[in-house]
Each structure stands twice: as C-alpha cells, then as structure tokens.
Symmetry: C2
DNA sequence: ATAACATATATCAGCTTGATATATGTTGAA
DNA sequence: TTCAACATATATCAAGCTGATATATGTTAT
C-alpha cells in the first residue's frame, strides 16, 4: 500500500496530525504490518489535502509548534474502501536477523548467542505488549489480525527457546573441530560455496 | 541490508549472473527474508566490480544473450563478514493481507472469504515447497532459519484454519444486523472511528 | 545542570521498486 | 500449426520511500 492510502487508513480511525500518524506506525495499531516515515507522510498529507480526500485544520498550541490536524472527508473514505478492494500485493518481509543467522558458521559464537538472546527478548517484549490488549474488545477484523500476529510471535519464541541450546552446541563443536583433517581455510569455504542456492532457507 | 551486501551473500554460495542473483531472492535461498530487483542488482554489481569486491567474466552463449558471471574476491568475502558483524537492523514486515483484514467489516463478505482462502492456499503451497528440502542436509545456521520460518508458516495456517469459520459467522451476523437500531450508516462509522489508534493490532 | 527524550513540521540525497525496452528460445494449448 | 505465455539475459528510469538532518521547544530523569 502506498503511504497516501496508509494515511487515509489511520485517519479513518479519527483525526490526527502527521506526527500522530507516524506514531500509529511506530507503536500503534499498524505497527506490526505497515510503516511510513515523516519523509513520505508529510508530502502525502499535502497531496491528499489538494485532492480533497482530507481536510486540514491548523491548531495553535501553547508552548508547542502549531499542529495541523487532518480529517478524512467522505471522498477520502470512499477512496480508502476502493483501495481495500484492490487485489492485495504480496507480503514483504526483510530481516537482518534471518540473514545473519543464515551465515552463523562464519561468525564468532558469542556474536551468534547475542543475536539469539536479543531475538528472544524482542519476542518476549512484543508478546508482553500485545497481551495487554483485550482481544474481546476489538472489532472482528482487528481481532483476527491480533490473534494471528500474536500466534506468530509466540510460536517463534517457543521454537527459538526449544532449539537454542542444541544449535549452540552444534556450532561450538564445529568451531572446535573446524574440519575433518587439515587447518586449510579454503576447504571449508569451497564446501560452503557448493551448497545449492536454489533451495529454501526459512 | 543494502543490495550490495545481498549480492555478496548470494555470490558467497557460488558465482552467478545478475539474473541468477535475482532468482535467489525470487525463489531461492533468500526468498523468505530478503528481496532485490534488477534495477538495484545490476548497478550494485557494477559498483562491486569497480571496488574489486567481485570479478566479472563475460560468457558468450549460443542462442542466448551474453552472460556476465560474477565471482566473489577475497576482499568481497571480508566485506561480507564485516557486514554480518554489524548490529542487525530491525525486521521490516509489510502486509496488504493484514492491512485489508484489519478493515474486514468495511468490505463485502465474499471479498473477505476470498482473501482468507488465498492466504490459506499461500501458506499450504509455501509449506509444501519448504518441506521438500531435507533440513538434515543443511548447514547449522540455514537449518535454524529454515525451521523457524517453517514453524511460522505452519502455525499461521493452523490459526487461520481454526478461526476462519467463527470469524466469517461473526462478520455475517454483523452484515445481517448492521447495528442495534436504525439503518443509519453514520452511526457505525462513528463507533469505528472512536477506537483507540494506539493499541496493537497484530 | 544537563542529557535524553518527546512534541511538531519539513526537506532532501540516495536507494529501491516496478515498469518498460530489447532480443531470443522453449513449452503448452487451441 | 500457430500463438500466447513463459524463461533467459541485461539495462534504464520515473516515481516513491527511507533515514538523516534541521529547527524550535518542553519535560523527565540522573
């Protein structure tokens, strides 16, 4: 989804400033499956205003910079619904965690352990935050989103906790016995390089 | 990770052309957690060549355009390792599926059912492809990536299958009894708009 | 005190995507 | 048979987006 549609979606839930829209992606309702930066939000709001999909009210504030509060118009609401009806584009998931983990054998063991521990903490914190919300209070669509997302985090945590020790033990034994015979580094690299690139990894 | 590092990573597993590197992201080893387009791969390879991180060999082919095969140099290998040691950036997940599902109440029910069925098919196909690979044959790091990824897909599938019917029934009852009293559309919208934007959704 | 963080908007270099162009071969369906 | 769809192969580019930076001020914790 383009940022303009994302802004309409946030504004559907109530009027907001650019700064508040950013928060919806950073820590709010959409934070687990959409994102947008200030650099795209502010221009998007400008264009949505010009096109009449949102209305802007300048709010003078004491001791704060002026706030521009945007509100969805009927036209904006219609446009949002139309966008929702279009065939969804495929998910996009990019993860340095998976990428680095993939090459675990090439890295110092403490580095890999740190990576896993940080990931476990991340899952725990995310689950903690998500379970503070009572699913029963959410509208139907939001509740399914919430439940599916929470399931993913919970099962990922369980998987990592169940496999962490075995994984580390295995890596350690590979570090101690670098390879079958000679200490020639090339051998290891050549073996790794022969692995089929066209098989699935995660 | 920038596309230059991603190219180094693919080339670490064996020499390849730009086209073949793209395949590693589209359907190959990195397809579940990284992506890159031709528009970024070809310029990246050019720059990596200039910097001496890869070497290029022009391969004349019968009945096919020339192929430029790139190979990692020692310098490129070192650069890859250094990049892997840097603190990983947070995951980025963007999903139209979640985004549309979030607004399920606003859409025609057949549309929502189609969305769920397509998602279930997607999970099934992905799991099918991933289980064709024998995890025991993978190096340690790749095996953990593979296992964690597969777990996510399998649990997502299970969750959707277990909750689909209840979810649809609930949406249907909302469509049949749009709200407590009057058929005034505004009422529904206002209710929805009062929902707290700053709570978690997935 | 003072550093870190929060509110609030805005700009911009640089990177990336998705579409398009070019040229050719293969495969499967009508 | 023909013809569309798909695969191999490289390359370019407008449009969009990120991440950093600038500006101005208030609050909170150390």
């Amino acid at each position: 989804m383009d940022v303009r549609t994302l802004c309409l979606a946030v504004l559907y839930q109530g009027e907001a400033s650019g700064y508040e829209i950013k928060k919806a992606f950073k820590e709010g309702a959409f934070s687990h499956f959409q994102d947008a930066s200030f650099g795209s939000i502010y221009p998007a709001l400008g264009r949505l205003s010009t096109e009449g999909l949102v209305e802007c009210t300048q709010m003078a504030q004491e001791k704060r910079p002026d706030k521009k509060v945007y509100k969805l118009t009927q036209s904006g609401e219609d446009t949002l619904i139309t966008s929702l009806l279009a065939p969804p584009t495929p998910d996009r998931f990019t993860s340095d965690f998976f990428f680095v983990l993939y090459f675990a054998e090439l890295l110092p063991l403490p580095q890999v352990i740190k990576l896993l521990d940080q990931r476990i903490s991340f899952y725990k914190e995310t689950i903690e935050r998500m379970t503070q919300c009572d699913p029963a209070s959410l509208p139907t669509g939001r509740r399914l989103c919430h439940g599916l997302g929470l399931t993913v985090y919970q099962n990922s945590l369980t998987y990592l906790e169940e496999n962490k020790e075995r994984f580390i033990t295995e890596l350690r034994s590979q570090h101690e016995t670098p390879r079958t015979s000679s200490p020639d580094t090339k051998t290891k690299d050549i073996n790794l390089k022969q692995i089929d690139t066209n098989r699935h990894a995660s």
